[in-house]
């Protein structure tokens, strides 16, 4: 009997563990539910809504946002925030367009884009970690810097004629109905890599630990400082990749690209179930958050309504999710 009790206890605790694990997936489930509900509502209202073409374009049109959201998830998981992503995306796109127009080979330009994104991330990360600047302000400085440097590169839009870059968007693989472009593949690849890093590497678990309780993580001997800088570098790298995808998408570099994208990204990540306080959330959720955002945008176009409704709907949805999260966290801490 004395042997049976611990067994029963471990069984019970493993059950509890399972429930707890499900609790952290709950917001993601809610996002999936909303996405499905929107699909159903769209299909029943518009009739021809849920077509393979629409589903394909949902992924392809929002590829850059998916990449940004993946990077942002890392930052938000540590309890930080990165406002610089939209501006950095615009800057890397601008830089690429300028370099390509002067005849620099594509093989040099693309690594350079990603590296410049990483440098912006590094600046923000060092400010946050070594100089105790609040993430909000540090990334704000990064945003100002990147946005201003865009205009230093060029005040006018620069057209991109490079076939490799344009091919990322124009090459359509698959059938006429179900298709995917290289940009979509890159976005999905980023999601897979990010999910793997967060779930199965030492670095990824450290990210969650810092978001859960930074003090404890430090006392446990985890490399808090290095990790906190690295999450911003990752976000910067993602902004660089997003810059590539966005340039391929718009076929031009323009300084005013991506204004407000940081807000769309944060909204998508939050809708996808990542807690803004840090420590809980999944990259898959962020992907779903972006898809929800994409469906809202498409539905409003279908309705022929004013595009300002996109922002209003996103705002309302963000509100609902934040309140729900708040309730969940309050219940969790009471227990």
């Amino acid at each position: 009997m004395s042997a049976a009790t611990p067994v029963a206890q471990t069984r019970l605790s493993s059950l509890r563990k399972l429930i707890q694990r499900r609790v952290s997936w709950l917001p993601v489930g809610a996002a999936v539910l909303i996405l499905i509900l929107m699909f159903v509502a769209g299909q029943s209202y518009f009739g021809r809504f849920l077509t393979p073409r629409l589903l394909s374009s949902l992924l392809v049109d929002n590829a850059y946002l998916i990449v940004l959201a993946a990077g942002m998830t890392f930052v938000i998981l540590t309890g930080g925030i990165d406002l610089s992503v939209g501006a950095v995306m615009a800057f890397t796109g601008m830089l690429a367009a300028k370099l390509l127009s002067t005849g620099v080979p594509t093989g040099v330009v693309i690594p350079l884009m990603i590296a410049s994104g990483a440098i912006f991330g590094l600046i923000v990360g060092v400010l946050v970690n070594y100089f105790d600047v609040q993430p909000f302000i540090a990334s704000l400085a990064g945003m100002f810097l990147a946005r201003g440097l865009c205009f230093v590169v060029s005040l006018e839009a620069i057209q991109v004629k490079d076939t490799t870059v344009l091919g990322l968007q124009s090459v359509k693989l698959g059938t006429f109905e179900w298709y995917i472009t290289p940009t979509g593949i890159i976005a999905l690849l980023v999601i897979v890599i990010a999910a793997w890093v967060l779930g199965y590497t030492r670095f990824g678990r450290t990210v969650y630990a810092i978001g859960g309780n930074e003090q404890s993580a430090r006392l446990m001997g985890l490399p808090v400082a290095r990790t906190k800088v690295l999450v911003y570098v990752i976000s910067g790298i993602c902004a660089g990749v997003a810059g590539l995808l966005f340039t391929a998408y718009t076929a031009a570099g323009y300084s005013l690209n991506g204004i407000g994208t940081e807000l769309d990204t944060i909204a998508s990540v939050v809708i996808g179930g990542t807690l803004l306080a840090g420590g809980s959330g999944y990259v898959i959720g962020s992907l779903i958050g972006v898809l929800v955002y994409g469906v809202i945008k498409v539905s409003i176009t279908f309705l022929g309504a004013d595009s300002s409704w996109t922002r209003i709907t996103i705002g309302i949805l963000l509100l609902v999710f934040v309140v729900v999260q708040r309730v969940l966290v309050a219940r969790g801490s009471r227990r």
Binding site: L127, A277, S308, T310, G315, I316
Partner: protein
Amino acid sequence: MRRVLKNRLLWPIGALVALIIVNAISRPSFLSITVRDGELYGSFIDILRNSAPLMLVALGMTLVIATRGIDLSVGAQMAISGAVALTIIKDSPTPNSLSTIAVAVLAGVALTLLFGLWNGFLVAVLGIQPIIATLVLMLAGRGIALLITGGFITTINSTPYAFMSQGYALGFPFAFFVSLGAIVIVSLVVRRTALGVLTESVGINPTASRLAGVRARSITWALYGLSGLLAGFAGILYSSNIMAADANNAGINIELDAILAVVLGGTSLAGGKFTLAGTVVGVFIIQTLTSTITFLGVPPAVTPVFKALVVIIVCLSQSRRVRQWVRQLWQRLRPAAAAKSPAAPTQGAVA
């Protein structure tokens, strides 16, 4: 001397004076003020007038930041109040009558007061992080403003409405009096009553102040309302300056400028102690900087680079690590300086 050095306003005022000196050297006309028909003109006067919307927003932001909060929605709220006021004036048959203007202004400001209270509700009652709670309205607000104006840029002709930002009274721009009035009223309310101290206590430790009997929730709630109200007035001034309600561009990025002004003035983003005088100086620094950059012939679009540098420098000067470095450097330099001039202290003693 020590008291002067210790004053928190020293650095902001020093920065402002340095900026003014740079301007005065690079363009002598900067300091000159001309009188035309009893009205004052000049770069200084322009700064006083153009800083009015930012001043209103930054005052509200200071108090919100003092409670450990932040209000990102002020720019969107400016767009809303401008849109409401101009739509009312446009639809009224008497766009020049004072009563129409009063109704329009009151309606616009009342709406933003409500939105401010809504922010306060989310933060103080539901306990949502201020950045996110106000982000909701920042996202949705411009959409709401666009709906009010029907997606167009509403333009009007109304002399009294234009007077608010373009007119002159007693030789000074009327907008200057608006910002002066806001400064005086807010500082009186905050510093001549216990509200300021209570706000600081809420910012320093919300739980402790609640246990001590401070109504932390109501104070936070009210201050977000005040921020909305002031943003509403700022939106009215902005729309009166261009006589148009531009839902997309009214007050764009003003929340960032306002936060920058507050931080430049010496209020910490961590909440607690705040200084309204510092914020006023911070607003003038930003406005002078903008005017300088425009004068230097740099395209206005590049302005963010300068702002980024200012933000980074200010943040670094507030950071503990840098202060420690400076102190170490200072201590290493001081013995050397003392050895070089041993006569200096005796001279001082004789004098």
